[in-house]
């Protein structure tokens, strides 16, 4: 029993990271129709910068904010490249954009190896072990859940209650009508990319203390994040959140009761199943 509670909490912590990546994917896809495969790179960049800032003596909190800000900036830059630099830029088609983001993800590898090297990096999170219902869970997992939950709540409120959030939803709902009422669809797309970058960055800085980060850690994040996002057809944030948590818990349970070697495969099998089912339903 105590094992199970432990696995569940750990899984929710890891799943929160996936869910953050997935939410970033959904935010960008809803507004721009672009599937952003550079999403995992935002997390890696943010984590790398945070480790450097901490090593330079910046206090916790500030260093993490710096990392998230880099994630947002990387997101904005990706958006500028994908959507074009000017107001009347034609931009790329969603299909082309997907390849462009894939390329940017690989470019990020080069930059990361150049600056931070190819060895795994990490930094300390919340120390100690918490005891909940006689289960012993590293305290940092609780921090991940404790930060991610209000972020999801704030996001939901932002989209449901603010005019800016509604304008973003309007671009997702009907681009043509958004232009008719004078919403700058491209600027909203850039905002979505920056938001996606920040969410990816947050995932990176939150999970790095429990999972070391290397330049190619983005693969795990994007596979899991995409699997979670694809559950909701890349358009439904709540389903993406649930999908991320489900994946985290499933993987931790699989690792806890089975073996740790198949974690990514769990996500891949889930993703393939969902995509095959959805494709069959679309017929």
């Amino acid at each position: 029993m105590s094992d199970l509670v432990g696995y569940l909490l750990t899984g929710l912590g890891i799943g929160s990271g996936f869910a953050l990546v997935a939410s970033g994917l959904v935010a960008i896809h809803r507004v721009t129709r672009v599937v952003n495969f550079a999403q995992g790179a935002f997390a890696v960049l943010a984590a790398m910068l945070t480790s450097t800032l901490l090593a330079a003596g910046l206090p916790h909190g500030l260093a993490e904010v710096g990392g998230v800000a880099l994630g947002a900036a990387a997101g904005l830059l990706t958006g500028l490249i994908v959507l074009g630099p000017r107001r009347d830029s034609p931009g790329t088609t969603p299909g082309t954009a997907l390849i462009v983001t894939l390329g940017l993800g690989v470019l990020a590898y080069a930059i990361e190896v150049l600056i931070w090297g190819d060895q795994p990096r990490s930094f300390p999170g919340v120390p100690g072990v918490a005891e909940i219902a006689s289960a012993r869970v590293p305290a940092h997992y609780l921090l991940i859940i404790g930060v991610a939950a209000p972020v999801f709540l704030l996001m939901a409120l932002f989209f449901a209650r603010t005019d800016l959030g509604k304008a973003l939803s309007a671009c997702a709902s009907n681009r043509y009508a958004a232009r008719v009422v004078g919403i700058d669809v491209r600027r909203m797309g850039l905002l979505a990319f920056a938001l996606g970058g920040a969410l990816g960055g947050l995932a990176g800085v939150l999970t790095t203390p429990v999972q070391q980060v290397t330049f190619d850690s983005d693969v795990t994040l994007i596979v899991n994040g995409f699997a979670a996002a694809v559950l909701g057809g890349l358009t439904r944030p709540v389903v993406a959140l649930g999908g991320g948590l489900l994946l985290g818990v499933t993987q931790t349970l699989a690792a806890g009761y089975g073996g740790g070697a198949y974690q990514v495969e769990v996500a891949l099998v889930l993703m393939l199943t969902v995509m095959i089912v959805q494709a069959a339903r679309a017929r």
């Binding site: 005019d163 509604k166 304008a167 939803s169 309007a170 709902s173 009907n174 043509y176 009508a177 958004a178 232009r179 008719v180 009422v181 004078g182 919403i183």
Partner: protein
């Protein structure tokens, strides 16, 4: 002052000419109809007015405060009616997005305010589309196909609202309409567009008697 002034407007799509030297004027507080069959170029003119297509030649001068009721109504289907309306005032800033005055103007929308726009009937959506355009506080309203796909009774209600907005509040209107009878009835002045060219224009009462109009647009098939 004019609300819309179009001179020598030519628009081409991949070499095909959609509009060919179109001249059209809507004076302030005037209601003008643009009549034409499918494919005559009516929608292209609307898109050019809103800056959504770039003209090959010619000039377009429009009042800054032009708002559009687009063809097909173009709701934000997953947003509520109230949110659809608020977004109509997007350009005007947060302080001017209050929907209260609009509900006084179009009370039919009050019971619908919290419904998703995508769940409404065509007539209700058209009312929301008009309301959304009014939220921009326009001096000219461009209405692209008011009656398309709607039952006659509903079209009558919508037309009455539009007429009241024009006569009581001095709103200029450019009505792009397949239903020529409705358009001539609602507007003081009309233009007839055929294959990208203006072939006739003048006061609606004159056009309604012109055999070229009665034969082609007011025949039995258009009753």
């Amino acid at each position: 002052m004019t609300a819309v002034e179009v001179t020598g407007l030519t628009v081409r799509y991949d070499g095909a000419t959609a509009l060919d030297g179109v001249d059209l004027t809507v004076a302030d507080h005037q209601a003008v109809a643009l009549i034409g069959a499918n494919g005559a170029g009516k929608s292209t003119l609307v898109k050019a007015l809103s800056g959504l297509v770039r003209p090959a030649s010619g000039t377009i001068t429009v009042n800054d405060r032009l708002a559009q009721v687009p063809e097909g109504r173009e709701m934000f289907p997953d947003l509520t009616v109230d949110d659809n309306l608020r977004l109509g005032a997007w350009r005007r800033g947060r302080r001017n997005r209050d929907t209260q005055r609009l509900y006084e103007l179009l009370p039919d929308l009050v019971p619908l305010r919290n419904r998703k726009a995508g769940a409404l009937s065509g007539g209700q959506q058209q009312m929301v589309a008009i309301g959304r355009a009014l939220m921009a506080d326009p001096e000219i309203l461009v209405v692209d196909e008011l009656s398309l796909g709607l039952a006659p009774l509903i079209v009558g209600t919508l037309a009455a609202h539009l007429r009241a907005l024009h006569t009581d509040r001095g709103l200029a209107v450019l009505l792009i309409e397949q239903n020529a009878r409705l358009a001539l009835d609602l507007c003081d002045h009309a233009y007839v567009l055929e294959a990208g060219r203006i072939v006739l224009h003048g006061p609606s009462a004159e056009l309604a008697r012109d055999p070229r109009v009665t034969d082609a647009y007011l025949g039995a098939g258009h009753e």
